[in-house]
């Protein structure tokens, strides 16, 4: 459950970031690991999954330093999916919050 849960939340984080702008893998991972403690490697499976499901596309762009980078871009389906996930997540956290409040009142 916990691993499953983390995976779901991680997917949400990736989609939220990609909704703002295109990222290449390393940058995206840094953004996430700045805020959440996860192993960096676990982001790549999420990226591949959303790529295979058509929620994002990739393109290569040359960089001034080092090799060309693989950028991820959110598709329209990805945006729809993100909205759905967000809604689910908010419903979920609202539920957990209210449960915790009930606990405190007892």
């Amino acid at each position: 459950m916990t691993a499953q849960f983390k995976k779901g939340v991680l997917e949400l984080c990736v989609l939220v970031l990609l909704d703002k702008q295109d990222f290449y893998g390393y940058e995206l991972i840094k953004r996430i690991t700045d805020k959440i403690e996860i192993s960096e490697g676990s982001v790549y499976p999420v990226l591949r999954r959303i790529l295979k499901q058509g929620y994002c596309t990739t393109y290569l762009r040359e960089s001034t330093e080092g090799p060309s980078r693989k950028y991820y871009h959110l598709t329209d389906e990805g945006q729809d999916y993100l909205l759905e996930l967000k809604e689910e997540y908010e419903k979920f956290t609202r539920g957990v919050d209210s449960l915790m409040k009930e606990e405190n009142n007892e």
């Binding site: 290449y24 192993s39 499976p45 990226l47 591949r48 999954r49 295979k52 080092g66 980078r69």
Partner: protein, 185 residues
């Protein structure tokens, strides 16, 4: 562990993916190492923050099942499961149910036989007490032999019953897993 060890291990755990997938995944991680190095990180540091290659490979394997799934996810997530449930129902009804009842009946029958083999010894003993004049020693020996074989059958059928219950519960668990679709990550 250095970069080569990491990629080697990852490649090993991904060996049953297509070579195209393997290539793309390895490329992603090569890029990751390059970026980390350009920030002045050592390979060891990068490997440490990446986490276990085995776990990463496991996550990557579970993405495979999404490949054949078309983009519109909300409805079709349910429909194959309904198909599985209906298929499973008829499969169980037609192919599994009959033989299962047959096997269960046979096992029950053997229990009854074993029990009656043992029980007849008491009846024979009882008969000996009531009508000792019409009782032959031969009958006593035959009765004891029968009771002995009854006990042996008990041992065997007990083992068989346990095995059958184990198999049955495993099959039930397998059905539940299929219906719930737990393997979906």
């Amino acid at each position: 562990m250095n970069k080569l060890d990491f990629l080697e291990e990852l490649r090993y755990y991904l060996r049953n993916l297509s070579s195209q997938d393997q290539k793309e995944i390895i490329q992603d991680f090569e890029e990751h190492f390059e970026m980390g190095r350009s920030e002045g990180k050592t390979d060891e540091e990068i490997v440490r923050s990446l986490g276990s290659p085995q776990q990463i490979a496991k996550d990557l394997q579970s993405t495979q099942q999404y490949e054949k799934v078309p983009a519109n996810h909300s409805a079709q997530n349910q429909s194959p499961r309904i198909g599985i449930i209906i298929g499973l129902f008829f499969f169980n009804l037609i192919i599994v149910l009959g033989p299962s009842i047959g096997i269960a009946g046979t096992i029950l029958g053997i229990w009854v036989v074993a029990f009656s083999f043992v029980a007849q010894l008491f009846i024979a003993g009882f008969q000996w007490i009531i009508h000792p004049e019409s009782f032959y020693l031969f009958e006593l020996f035959a009765s004891i032999t029968l009771a002995g074989s009854g006990l042996l059958i008990f041992i065997v059928i007990n083992y068989v019953t346990n095995a059958a219950i184990r198999i049955f519960s495993k099959y039930i668990a397998f059905n539940v897993r299929l219906v719930k679709g737990e393997d979906r990550a």
